[in-house]
Amino acid sequence: MNGRITHIATNTFREAVRDRVLYNLIAFALLMSGAAVLVGQISIGIERLVVINLGLTAVSLFGVVIAIFIGIGLVSKEIEKRTLYTVLSRPVRRWEFIVGKFFGLTGTLVVNTFFMALGVFAALLYVSRHFQHGDGWILIALYFIVLQFVIIIALALLFSSFSSPLMSAVFAFALFVIGSFSEDLRGFSAMTHGITRVLATGAAYLVPNFSALNVISSVAHEQPVSNHLIFYNTAYALFYAIMAISGSVLIFERRNLK
């Protein structure tokens, strides 16, 4: 990574911390400790399951909300505050600005996820008293959640490069919901015929596939995740993110900022 991208990424991270993004960790800590203490008293036999399901779902949802709401402002806020002109008047290219912003927010979310993961494991240790062999799969689920964030950040950046913050948030959130049902969408398209099939299949492959990145239920049941899936999901998330970032670079390069 070149020095200019690193600087923009570092600044984006600092800005997010200054914006008190990491305050969500407090809410998360409260949720996890509350769940860990309460679930043992109100239920039988599913303490571990609840902590894993609730913990990983919260990590995912908190991260998605942060990725969307910070991601959509990455470009538009800089234009609004006119700080973008200061940045671009220096020897910084537009694509470097986009890529730097992407890495900055990704870094923020990786740090955020790391602390949340510590919380999940602490709550798990509290309810189970010891770790089990299958708990290692939780790390894979967390890794997939980070891959989810990578795609959402790239999409938020893409929308942010041509649309207003409100519309960008709507688009990004809608794609997150649709992407979570992408397997069903591909199933629906397989049942159609003719031109509808072509259009539906095209749309089904264009939306991000978040369902394959969600293995929360299976790791909660200590089901292993195949190496193939880890490899394909990693490659898929990276290619999808590259696609979205390339799109935002293309748009941003042509955008009239005057």
Binding site: Y205, N233, Y236, F239, I242
Partner: protein, 310 residues
Amino acid sequence: MSRSRRITIIAGTLLFVSAAASVLLLRRIDHSREAATLQNVLYISSPKTLKHLSLGYQGLLADIYWTRAVQYFGGQQHAAAAQHYELLAPLLEITTALDPKLTVAYEFGANFLAPAPPNGAGEPKKAIELEKYGIENNPDDWHLYYNLGFIYYLELRKYTEAADAFARGSQVPNAHPFLKILAAQMARRGGDAETARMLWSATYQTTKDHDVRANAAAHLRALRVDHDVAELQKAVSIFYNQTGRWPSSFSELESAGLIRGRPIDPLGRPYQLQPDGSVEVANPDDLPFIQSGLPLGYIPPKLPKFLPSD
């Protein structure tokens, strides 16, 4: 080449390459997760919990689960080992619990559950439970009583229960008039071919679904073949008793006045008379469900062949 143009070309190339790569990878992901996907959807197997989790959107969730049931059934049916449908009953249970008014799930779901593999899951009792639950929630839909009677008749050979289901259905406002006839027919002579013909004809005439219609047409053809072969075999036996030898062709039977014209099957193909006097159909693959007229050692295809014209 200007810098901006270079960036545009690089970004454009990256966009297309990564879009193609992500589609290819998605296909690989789908392939590697094929078996796991539906197992995963049943981690929450309690319809009650799902209802709460749906935040009031249980109608949409029911539609999704019904689609999953259809896909699962279709996928398993086309799989090489099409003998296992263990997720079908729970998927249908969840679907109907989420939306008890989704009558299509009872109608087709029971048709998926009841027949023996590979045509279905081979779980007629669960199909009956499903239909009864459907009737409980939709007492004014005569189709559900009809389907219930049909399963009792066809899969379990319980003619009294079938007659009762048809009779109850006939009392529903706007019920099709044939339900009364079916109830009477079933009570009088449940097991004969004429009753079967009447039931399949009723299905053929009333269904709007192409697959169900094709299935009914195939069964009607099979009933006709079974009847034709039995009649022809009877004529061959009479010929043998009269002459002491098997007829060499159907023309001999015609000359002897035992049959009229060259016998043809429902698809218009002539029946075959074998040297040992047995009667066979020309192409048994095109006539699924037939019990008579099959060549010796014939192995039927894994899935019944339905004709596109049905």
